[in-house]
Structures are given as C-alpha cells and as structure tokens.
C-alpha cells in the first residue's frame, strides 16, 4: 500500500497538471539571473585568443605587446596551465590552449583578463602569433582514407544475403547529406569565476548542462582536487547539447586563480559559433530491400560523420546514428558501416537528436523512395513495417519499451489539415514562400505533403551509468529538494516540485540552489532528466515518505504499510480500518525533519561487439510528423504551412511543458530542413552570426497541431518518457518529403533533393519532366 502513488483528482501543482514554473515571474520581469548577468564591481573581463587557421604550426607566441596595454591584468597561455593540459568528454584530447599546432579555426591559444571588454579585445589583437600554415584536412572521405577516424563500428545482422536473393524483392538506394547545424541557444556562453580568499580553490558560476562532469575536467586542468572546485549553475539560456562540452570554464578559472580576483567571460555570438560543438554533418548511403507486399527484409547503410578536430562525443553520436538505421520499422537483416572521422573542421558533438537526426533523414527519405518503387502509399508502408514491443532491432537488442508507433502514425494522419488555401484567404503576401518581398505568385506555388516517423533512444548508452542524485528534506510541512540537475529551460524545476507535491502530499516545495554540493545528476541531455532526475527526486521523496509513515504509524499504533498519501493527508488504508486515521502531512511533520538522499540508476547497458550486437540502449520514444508546405519551384522558395504530430510520451506529467517541447523541437527541425547550416569553406566558417546563420522566426514557424500519445511506460519511474528530442527528429524529413511532393506536382523530378537543409538552388535545379 505504501508503494501506491495516489494522484487524487490531480490536485493543482501535482503530476499531470501544468502549474506555473517557479522561475517564470523572475524570467518575465528580467530579474532571473542568467550566468551573463553575474558580476559586480571589480570583476575583470576575460577573453580568448583563437586560431584564424584550420591547420597551422605555431612557430611563436609573443604576449609582450598585450601586457603593455593599460588595463590588462593577465595574459595566459598553455605554459600557465598547472594541471592536465587537455580536456574532453569521452577522450581528453582537446588542449586547454594550443601549443605547437592548431587544428581548427577558433581553437583557443591564449586568454587575457582586463578592466573592460574593449581593453580585452585590444589585448588579444596585440598578441603576436607566428604561424606556419598547413594544409587542412576538410574532406571527410579523405580523412577516412587517411585513417583519421574517431570510431568505426559495423553492424551485421540476420541473413542479408538470403534476404537480397528473395524472389521479387525490390531495392532502392540513395545517398543523403545533412549539413552542420548549430544549437544557437540565445544565452551565450558565460561564466563568473570567484577564487577562494586563501587561493586554494575556486567557485564557478556557469551555464552548463552537467555540473559534475565540468568540475571533473576543470579540476584536472587546474591541478586541484575536485572538492576545491565548486560549481554553481548560473542561469542557463538554452542548451540543446552545446553546453555539454567545456568551453570557457577552464580559461575563466585559470584567470581568476592567477589574479586572485573574480573574472567573468562572455562569448560573443561569433565566438560562440567557434566555441562550442555542433551537429555532425553526415553523408549517408542507404539501400532498402522489401518484398513486393512492402515488408522490409534488409537494410544496408554507410555513415560518414564529420567529427571535426576533436573527439567530443563523436563515438556516441556514431553509435546512435547506426543503431537507428532502421528507424521505427522492423528489419530482419542489415549490414551497416559507420565512421566518425577527424578533420580540421569545427568540432562536433552533442545536439538535440544526437546522431538520430541524421539517420532519420536518410531512413525516412528511403521509406518514401521504397513506397514509390512499390506503388504503395507511404503511410501504408510505414504502418505495415511499424515496430512493436518485442521486435528485435538490428543490433540484436529487443525493443522492450512501449512502442506505439502505429498509433502515432494513425493519430498524425487523422489530425486536421490547414483550412487556408495557398496564399490564404486574405491575400497577405506574408503567407507565401518568400514573404512580403512579393517574389512568389500564388499561381506558381504548389502545396506538398510529407511524412516522417522516428525512434529515439533515451538516456546514455553503451555501459555508461548516467545516474542522478536528489536530496529531499521534509520539515514542518515544507519539502526542500536539492539536485544538481541543470535547468536549461526545460522546466525540471517545475517537475521536481510536482513530484514532491504528489508523493509527499505537501503544497509548498522549496528548491535549493543547483550546484555541486550534492551528487551528480548527469547531463541535461539525451531526453533523460524527467526519467533520471525525476526518478531520483521521486525515490528520495518515497524514502522520506517511508520514514514519515513509520513515525505516524508508531505514534498511532498503525502498521506503516497501511498508510498512504491522499491529497495532502496521510490516511489509513487498512482493510478493516479504512479512513480511521486521517492527518494532514503539515500536522504530522510539525517540528520534525526527515532528510534522505538517493540515487537513481537506469538498467545497465553494454558496448556493441565487433558485429555491432549488444544491449546498448536503455529505452526508446517514438513520434510521427506530417508537414504541409507551399513551394515556388521556379524560385526555390518554401513556406512551411503546418506541422501535425503525434508523440509517444509515456504519460504527460506536465502537459503544457510537453507541448512546449513539441513546438520548440519542431522549430529546430524546421530550421534544419530549410534554413540552418553552418557553412565552412576551406575550413573557415563563413556565417558565424545571426545575420548569416538563419533561424526560424515567428513568420517561418507554422501552426503545430499535436496529439499527445499517452501509454504508461512501466520501466520509467513515473511512467513518463523523455520528450525533448523526438519532436526535432522526424519533422525534418517530413518537411523535405513535402517539398519533394510539391516539386513533383509542379511537373519536376525531385529525386536530387537528397540533402538538408534544402536550399533554393537545390529546388530550382530539379529538372522538368
């Protein structure tokens, strides 16, 4: 009985409701402190000197001229790093400062601290670095040929030869390209480092996704024990994967420790493009074989992901990509080769969707090709092959998550289409591709429809125990919850309160500061915090509740196992004595303190073997998207008119937040489909600004019609799956498919539209007939 989670009537603020977020008023009033808002009198400005070359040998560095500028307090290089000279998430291969060689444009070489950001800028300009420029390695295939590879992983599954030899099988193949996307969070990298008065340690206020991992890497580079480095989460202005790696953390701490004074660092938007990892650009070849009836019998694939200059999470991104080759469809045999290569491009790592975005664009494009070759409706083909719980995946793992793929597809298809015709009823040019420039004409605009369906693994994979920790203290009817979970905007602060209210029957839940004074929460990534940190908060609340029940039971002579929480009361659920005891939690805890800290671990996973077989993943979530687009095929302009979606969420613990994740993810997937790409020419980024790197605005983003598919996930501590990544994954191929559909209706052949983002020139180049 004590184990029963009673959600009586969804009391406001508990699980299943959408309470106001606790930081909401501060954020709308501008008083919420983002990491870039921290500072104060006497705080110096740090800044970073970066390589202008994608590949060069450093002949000499002369920092003398920088020292001679008034207001410059410190200039540091690799010689000033007292601890480990490199850092990195999986492999510590990235130098704190470059020494003999630079491997990408933007690689840090030196840092300064000064009294004004303008002084710091001039100091950087004064540092004289003599380079011997080398030829950069910028072609991923050339890198592969040269053996410049972070990871090669093969998957061989089933009986591929027999499948390909089946009578009447139909095969389709194509090569797909995905451009490099930027997370483009609004809140630029920022930190404030405050050295201890004794000089023995440092406190860093930083916008990050993973406080404890940062601390581990920072402490190693500073040559300090981890206890001497304390991290506090500075308000985070979005993350999306770009704050999982170290950026300015070590530099800022080094400057502060050197000077014995607080130092803050803020990246500019240009520097931000250079200073964090990006989504891997990918080249993917896929071949699908199917029976004439449309049953997929074999998939072959070859992935080449450009990891850029340093390892970051490339090996994990590659794992995700290749183990999602099949998408949410059954597949009895497969041969897949995946390569993540090292080049002199910007380093790539985590971004929302983490390898699955790339795989999904390819497999969904293939499903449309296959449907066309078989003469089967693309939705029917997807339904026919939709994965179900119990199916085995191509890496040999059994799908044991709730898998409502068919339901997601059917609910998406059933959602209403937009009621406005091309151009709308009011003739407003803003409704047309190209917008108010009046470049498009309604007569030349074609409307297309496309579908995408995806599967995404949740949590970390391949043996990584990404546990989470929470401490809950219940006293006088007030619960205080502490965790190191990075709140990056997703609303975990709200969810933690909802969990505590539900499990403990209290209304008042206070959140402690988010810092390293409690155990790790793991990273806010991989759609994992609702499951992992939600699980930790729930476990700590349950432990507190057990103690409370023991206390109340002893006081009233009742077996604590008979007690439960009903709303805000403790009640007796004994068969013979129901309702005999009813006492409010506030009353029962008067003058008492219950304090418990717990860790939540997901089930163990394992690395793939040499054939790519192994139980490497923890759980999965699914989603379907339908896109409606208007295209002017002569001008190559696209207007996304509507996106419909049905998403598998387990249960919606906070429905309004789920909608927020769905709409926000779709916006990022739309960006990748039609506008967002980091352009590098000869290893140099050419659009490191919001003027040139285009993000969806309110005029680019269409209305979203969403259906939330709720099927309780028994393996999840709260029945809920992570909802952050799925929305951004299959919307990209859905939009691409809709563009192909529109191009086809215009009497053109869209078969060359095999890359995202789809550029105007790609559309215009589609031949007639």
């Amino acid at each position: 009985m004590a184990d029963t989670l009673t959600i009586t009537g969804n009391r406001h603020g508990t699980l299943g409701t959408s309470p106001r977020r606790p930081d909401g008023v501060a954020k709308v009033q501008g008083s919420f402190e983002f990491s870039s808002d921290l500072g104060g009198d006497g705080v110096l400005w740090g800044a970073t000197l970066r390589s202008p070359h994608p590949h060069a040998r450093i002949v000499s560095i002369d920092v003398g001229p920088a020292w001679r500028i008034d207001g410059v307090a410190a200039v540091i290089t690799a010689d000033d790093v007292p601890g480990h000279p490199t850092y990195g998430l999986i492999e510590d291969d990235q130098p704190v400062f470059a020494t003999d060689v630079v491997n990408y444009v933007g690689q840090p070489i030196a840092a300064v601290a000064a009294d004004h950001p303008e002084t710091a800028r001039r100091a950087l300009a004064a540092i004289a670095v003599d380079y011997e420029v080398l030829n950069p390695l910028i072609d991923a295939e050339a890198a592969l040929a040269a053996g410049s590879v972070f990871r090669h992983q093969r998957i061989v599954y089933g009986e591929p030869d027999a499948a390909a030899a089946m009578p009447g099988v139909v095969a389709v193949e194509a090569t797909y390209e995905i451009g490099m996307q930027d997370q483009a969070f609004l809140g630029l990298e920022a930190a404030l480092a405050v050295p201890d008065s004794g000089g023995g340690g440092v406190e860093l206020y930083v916008a990050t996704q993973w406080l404890h991992e940062d601390r581990k890497q920072i402490a190693a580079c500073l040559g300090l024990a981890e206890e001497q480095v304390r991290l506090v989460l500075g308000g985070v202005g979005g993350a999306f994967g770009a704050r999982e790696d170290i950026s300015l953390q070590v530099h800022c701490c080094l400057l502060a420790l050197r000077l014995g004074r607080p130092v803050k660092m803020h990246y500019s938007r240009h520097e931000s493009f250079l200073g964090h990892v990006h989504r891997h650009p990918a080249n993917i070849w896929m071949k699908h074989w199917a029976t004439p009836d449309g049953d997929i019998v074999r998939i072959d694939a070859r992935f080449v992901l450009d990891g850029g200059a340093y390892a970051s999470t490339s090996e994990a991104v590659l794992l995700n990509a290749i183990t999602h080759t099949q998408g949410p469809y059954r597949c009895p045999s497969a041969v897949v080769d995946g390569y993540a290569v090292r080049t002199n491009h910007l380093p790539c790592g985590a971004m929302r969707g983490f390898g699955v975005v790339q795989a999904c664009y390819a497999h969904e494009s293939q499903m449309d090709l296959l449907a066309e070759a078989l003469g089967i409706d693309p939705v029917e083909l997807r339904l026919r092959n939709a994965i179900r719980t119990g199916d085995e995946l191509i890496h040999g793992q059994v799908m044991d998550s709730v898998a409502p793929v068919e339901r997601c597809i059917r609910e998406t298809v059933a959602l209403p289409f937009p009621d406005e015709p091309v151009g709308g009823h009011d003739g407003d040019p803003l409704r047309l591709p190209g917008g108010a420039g009046r470049t498009a004409d309604t007569q030349h605009v074609y409307r297309g429809i496309g579908y995408g369906v995806s599967m995404k693994n949740l949590m970390y994979s391949e043996g990584f125990d990404d546990y989470s920790t929470a401490r809950v203290r219940l006293a006088d009817g007030v619960a205080a919850v502490k965790f190191a979970t990075a709140e990056v905007g997703q609303g975990f602060v709200m969810l933690a309160q909802q969990i505590a209210r539900t499990v403990l029957g209290v209304d008042e839940v206070v959140l402690d500061r988010i810092d390293t004074d409690v155990g790790s929460a793991g990273s806010t990534s991989a759609s994992r915090q609702t499951w992992m940190s939600g699980g930790a908060v729930e476990a700590a609340c349950r432990a507190v509740r057990e103690r409370l029940f023991e206390h109340v039971g002893a006081a009233h002579g009742i077996d604590p196992l008979r007690l439960a929480i009903d709303g805000t009361d403790i009640v007796d659920l004994g068969v013979d004595t129901p309702g005999e005891l009813r006492i409010s939690v506030v009353e029962a805890t008067a003058g008492l303190v219950f304090d418990e800290t717990l860790e939540y671990h997901h089930r163990p996973t394992e690395r793939l073997d040499h054939n790519g077989q192994g139980n490497c993943h923890t759980a999965w979530a699914f989603v379907a998207h339908r896109a409606v687009v208007d295209v002017d095929p002569d001008l190559g302009l696209v207007k996304v008119v509507q996106v419909a979606t049905a998403q598998d969420v387990g249960v919606a613990l906070n429905p309004l937040s789920v909608v927020g994740q769905i709409e926000g993810g779709i916006a990022q997937g739309l960006g990748l489909a039609v506008m967002e790409e980091i352009v590098q020419i000869d290893g140099r980024i050419r659009n490191a600004s919001f003027t040139d790197y285009l993000l969806p605005t309110m005029l680019d983003m269409p209305p979203v019609v969403a259906s939330i598919v709720e099927e309780y996930e028994p393996q999840a501590p709260l029945g809920a799956k992570g909802v952050g990544e799925p929305p951004c994954i299959s919307v990209t191929p859905a939009i691409a498919a809709a563009i192909r559909d529109a191009v086809r209706q215009a009497g053109r052949d869209p078969s060359t539209l095999n890359r995202v983002p789809v550029r105007p020139t790609d559309i215009v180049a589609c031949p007639h007939g």
Binding site: S18, R20, R21, G24, V25, K27, V28, Q29, G30, S31, F32, E33, F34, S36, D37, G39, H116, E118, Q183, A184, F185, L186, G187, L188, G235, V236, G237, G238, A239, F240, H266, R269, D426, D428, L430, R431, V488, G489, G491, L656, S657, V659, G660, I662, E663, G664, G665, I666, A667, Q668, S689, F690, T691, L695, P696, T697, M698, L699, M701, V704
Partner: protein, 160 residues
C-alpha cells in the same frame, strides 16, 4: 567633454560615469547601470533579446549608442512593473507556457507590450509580423502567440 552623461531610464535620471562613447545602450544599461533585464545575444539587431523603448520606439539596444539616447525616455523591462507584480503581458507569458529558458523573454515582453499598445486587436499574422524580430530558440513561438492573444482578449473584455 563631460565625464558623464545622463540617461532617463524608467523615469529616473541616471548618471553614466566614465563611459567610452562607443558603448552601446545595452552595455551601459547592463554594465554601468546594473539593469540586466535586456539581454545580448547577437550584437547585430537580429534577435531582439535586447529590445527596449527609446522615446517610445522599440529598438534593439545593442544597435543604439548609449550617448545618443540622452534626452529621450528609455524604458526597459525593469520599468514595466514592480517586482512580483507582473503586467498582464508578463503574467500571460507565465500562464501560457511562453517561457522556457527565458533569455529571449524580456525582449519579447517589451515587443509584445509595444504591439498591444499600438494595435490592441492584432490578427495572428500581425502578431507574427510584429514579433518576427524576436528570436526564441526554445518554444517554437506557439505559446508566445497564445499569450499575446490572451492579453488582447482580456484587455478587450475589460474595455482596456
């Protein structure tokens, strides 16, 4: 040249000491006057995070030299309402789920107030056009449009 100039911010005259004349209004508000609600996110007037009003006009404060705002009233998010007493727009943003990371929010709140002050009953397309200079990377804008529409309806109902 005087060693300070005076800005009228949220109805209060504030002396700006020792500023380099090239400093933007955004920098001066944040770093010299301690008014950090306006955010810097692109430094190019592309994202609207730094939106404030100068002389009643909505501007990107990253593109305005602070010294050029002398003699004109400057209004920032801090001047919209007392702490813990949010405006109708601010409350609607919280209630409608228009706030996630919140970095774009002060700019969007300024832009939404400006829109509703000049066009009390905007169509959805007018909202999209008016707020298209404000980039939000978290929400996909749906809940923001919802919030603005809620305010327009409630102001209309109350005769406001």
């Amino acid at each position: 040249m005087p060693e300070f100039f005076t800005l009228n911010v949220n109805g209060v005259d504030r002396e700006v000491q020792d500023a380099w004349l090239g400093e933007s209004l955004l920098y001066v508000l944040r770093e010299r006057l301690g008014l950090v609600a306006a955010k810097g996110a692109c430094e190019q007037g592309e994202c609207g995070s730094c939106s404030v009003e100068v002389g009643g006009e909505l501007v990107c404060s990253c593109l305005v030299l602070a010294a050029s705002a002398v003699g004109q009233p400057v209004r920032t998010v801090e001047g919209l309402a007392e702490p813990a007493a949010p405006t109708d727009v601010q409350q609607a943003f919280v209630d409608a789920g228009a706030v996630q990371c919140g970095f774009c929010t002060p700019g969007l709140v300024m832009a939404s107030h400006h829109l509703l002050d000049t066009n009390p009953e905007p169509t959805e397309m007018e909202i999209r056009e008016a707020l298209s200079g404000n980039i939000c990377r978290c929400t996909g804008y749906g809940r923001i449009i919802e919030a603005v529409q809620q305010v327009a309806v409630s102001r209309g109902a109350s005769g406001g």
